[in-house]
Symmetry: C2
Subunit: 528 residues, 2 copies
């Protein structure tokens, strides 16, 4: 019998307090659906008393057909000197009609007197009254014991008294919060064990990552008797963030034998992580454990050759269990074994000890020195392989292009237009196009010029466009690296360009994207 651990997600509330994150109501609803698919037990939707956006969310979320998750609403104990039934925050909680309310209250004496500015006795009343009152309107009330660990270290008697009060008020779960994130694992273990001896209500853990120990702290709390973990997808949250559920869940489930979500749902973890990054409009953190793009990426030569023989030599779990995958990286560190593995992937015949392998290694080194990076641009890499091996065809010649961006007054928009002349065989095509910006105009013009000769390009679209300053800070003439993702109905591919001129860098990546597509078509037809 596996012990069940409840997962409580607060991405939509604590997560949205992170710098750079601002979810719209629609964003929050989309994330809710995704968390429900993942099988998360509780989704803290927001703090209806704090802003109108969250109140609107609670109205709309009721219409979502959720299968697994229960929505909870967050709020605080009622304000001093106001009756609980008249407190606007408490009223908004009830108005949210959530089935579960999570109430945070002070348990650190210093906070009670310094931040809340009430007596220690009064604070106990606030806790008792709020929980007792809200129990009438909800299936369950959870109590978040704010700053519990700091409070316990300062004045354990009072901190415990707060929990006892919540227990008497019939809270359904008491969550020990390391609000400032400063507590280390050994202390968490000891304190949870202590609390377990005097409190009978189920305990939860809510850890912040200020000491870089939020995941470890969550795990040791569970090992020592807590049964609920609060955290966020990707560890989003105020300051250094919350315990990262993308790490907590697989650790508990795959390594310690607890049961959090169904195994087949765990395979969605990587997808959910990236979805939430996408909605939050943040670049995924590559080195993120379990779900990061680099989490199972091998670069060092020794590692690559071993992991090719037996993955478990350098992989702590099978990446598929969390929906991730193994990647072999190409780089100047790695040497020939990576090149051979890549050639295999690309279906390009290559002799292990041939001069060609060395030629490819050299070409990559030279380009990497100039700022190119092929780890995120596999289509450009494949073209480089083909070019070095004399397998690349030329599909067109550029005679010239011109891009014009014009603004005719301070308050008018900037308009972009590109003209282009290309030669395909003996035909010359001269055309023009506008766009949302210079790169878009250029991309439109080039595809327009080539479509007459290569109709398969009609279905190709520019899907994503990224720019990175390569040698930022190293002088005014910074190089930029452009990464472009192109796609059609069947496939998606990425290409790269580097130059001091962003238009030149974009041009290189656009051309690679088109040549890659044309090359694949030729291969499909058996013409290469």
């Amino acid at each position: 019998m596996q012990k069940i651990i409840e997962i409580y997600d607060t991405t939509l509330r604590d997560g949205s307090q992170a710098e750079d994150i601002s979810f719209s109501v629609d964003d929050k609803l989309r994330i809710t659906e995704k968390l429900d698919e993942l099988g998360i037990h509780y989704i803290e939707g927001g703090w209806p008393g704090s802003n109108p956006k969250d109140a609107e969310y609670f109205k709309k979320v009721k219409k979502l057909p959720l299968k697994n998750s229960v929505i909870t609403a967050f709020g605080s104990t009622h304000r001093p000197k106001i009756k609980v039934e008249n407190d606007s925050n408490v009223k908004s909680l009830i108005a949210s009609e959530a089935k579960i309310f999570t109430i945070f209250g002070k348990t650190w004496d210093f906070h009670v007197t310094e931040a809340l500015k009430v007596s220690l006795e009064e604070n106990l009343e606030l806790i008792f009254n709020t929980i007792t009152y809200l129990k009438k309107y909800a299936e369950k009330v959870f109590f978040d014991a704010e700053h519990f660990f700091d409070g316990y270290k300062d004045n354990s008697e009072y901190a415990l008294k707060c929990l006892k009060t919540a227990e008497e008020a019939k809270a359904d779960c008491i969550i020990l919060c390391d609000t400032n994130g400063g507590t280390l694992p050994a202390e968490v273990a000891k304190i949870v064990k202590d609390v377990r001896q005097s409190i009978n209500v189920p305990l939860g853990i809510h850890a912040h990552n200020d000491s870089d120990c939020a995941v470890a702290n969550s795990i040791v709390a569970i090992i020592n008797g807590a049964v609920q973990v609060q955290g966020t997808i990707n560890g989003f949250g105020e300051r250094c963030g919350n315990a990262n559920l993308c790490s907590v869940i697989p650790n508990l489930q795959l390594k310690l034998g607890y049961r959090c979500i169904d195994d087949y749902k765990l395979k969605k973890l990587t997808e959910v992580s990236r979805f939430v990054y996408e909605i939050a409009n943040l670049i995924p953190f590559k080195r993120q454990p379990f779900v990061g793009e680099s989490a199972f990426a091998h670069k060092g030569g020794v590692h690559v050759s071993a992991v090719r023989k037996r993955p478990e030599t350098y992989e702590h779990i099978r990446p598929e269990l969390v929906g991730n995958r193994q990647r072999i990286l190409v780089s100047d560190l790695a040497g020939k074994s990576n090149i051979l593995k890549k050639a295999e992937e690309f279906n390009i015949p290559l002799e292990p000890n041939s001069l060609e392998v060395q030629a490819i290694v050299d070409a990559i080194k030279t380009l990497e020195n100039e700022g190119y990076q092929f780890e995120g641009a596999e289509a450009s890499l494949e073209l480089l392989f083909r070019k070095t091996l004399g397998l690349k065809r030329k599909f067109f010649d550029l005679i010239g292009f011109r891009v014009i961006d014009e603004k005719r007054k301070g308050d008018e928009p900037t308009l972009s237009e590109a003209t282009i002349m290309v030669k395909v065989g003996k035909n010359i095509e001269h055309t023009a196009s506008t766009g949302n910006g210079p790169v878009n105009a250029l991309d439109n013009a080039l595809r327009k010029a080539l479509e007459r000769f290569y109709p398969e390009l009609k279905r190709v679209r520019l899907k994503d466009y990224k720019v990175r300053v390569v040698n930022s800070g190293k002088g005014t003439a910074s190089k930029v690296r452009v990464l472009i993702e192109s796609g059609d109905d069947e496939d998606v591919w990425s290409t790269v360009g580097v130059s001091e001129n962003i238009i030149e860098a974009s041009w290189q990546a656009i051309v690679d994207g088109i040549e890659y597509k044309l090359c694949k078509e030729k291969i499909k037809k058996g013409e290469i």
Copy 2:
């Protein structure tokens, strides 16, 4: 008496095995100097046997006048079927002339037979011979027990036998490595304690972050008797990275009372972290504990008002101890108390309950919805405050600009040129400039046009330029957000622009950058 813990940095070796990281020899030397300033005990410079770049590093590093750090060279036990003195890897170590060698060897039986493909007995000989031989050429030899934790769990007898062999060979420190990063803190604690009982040589810990527990694992190993921590700045490293020294050091020193580096050097930690990001050409991870830009950034309204009264309410340490600082963020979550704090910083008088405060909150909300972000663009924010309060002057009117990027053949570079016409008072200036790209050309042309009227602009330079696709994936017409850092001899300031057209977005940020400078000059002269 504080117990001393030795810090062993492997940013230059294990760190460089991270995806996206490729250090030049010069980069490595600059990082070495910085780590020396920080007072790191050992700097693992590289693996001289693995690539010529590292061999060159060891030649050059000898000329650096280091004050605190000792350079170590990394390598493996000698190859089977070759005498230790004939092994090329061992020879390169000796040729490096480093004072300390760190040798990794297998201790997991599975790896011995599957990856190394030798008998268990032979592996012990490799360990013994390599250490004994190298001791003659170095002040110290450290033994990295690769995959020790996995090995110990699988076959503790053999794993310990490997350590015993290293001890007999007179290794000066034996480092227990969690190479795959899969071990959790409770196991690390137990295993280190076990090993401590049978090994007398000082122990070290080398943890990887695949379970998101590398920092916690390092700390529990120290608590249980290890005296050396290996890790990297910012946690760079293969896959999910190594234990992050920027978290390990302050945890050990500020919270557990160990002594790692001098307290006054600890104040350089944030600077060193950002320097290494800069050299590695990576965007710093904002939520990084202790040293990240968001590590002491407060956004939620409740937190902001409390932290203004007493910082320790939501800060686990004083940020200055690690050279970081408190930041109050402006965002739609935060409300009026942040706006008032900001106005104070900007030295703009603002009444707490005035209509103006609400007008600023509304303006920020509207712009944030459109994709603007002011957290990294304080100069634009200050201009927005001034504009909303009617305190902003107009310094010029744009009559129009045109930017042309031209490429005249497939193999020629793209050239960029901008023409611009502006009106200052009654004067019209019409001029043109080239640039390394369209934005650079436009920036040059605008400053050229205005310098006649505002000579103070001659000293202003564009220092950094960042582009972010704001709603990537949400359709083809992505918005971009441009962040520009401008500066002169005295000051640096950041501005933002958002548009579907990158030229328009850049224009907005450039104009803000110039207006900010002109505004500050007026204030300085008492004219505003």
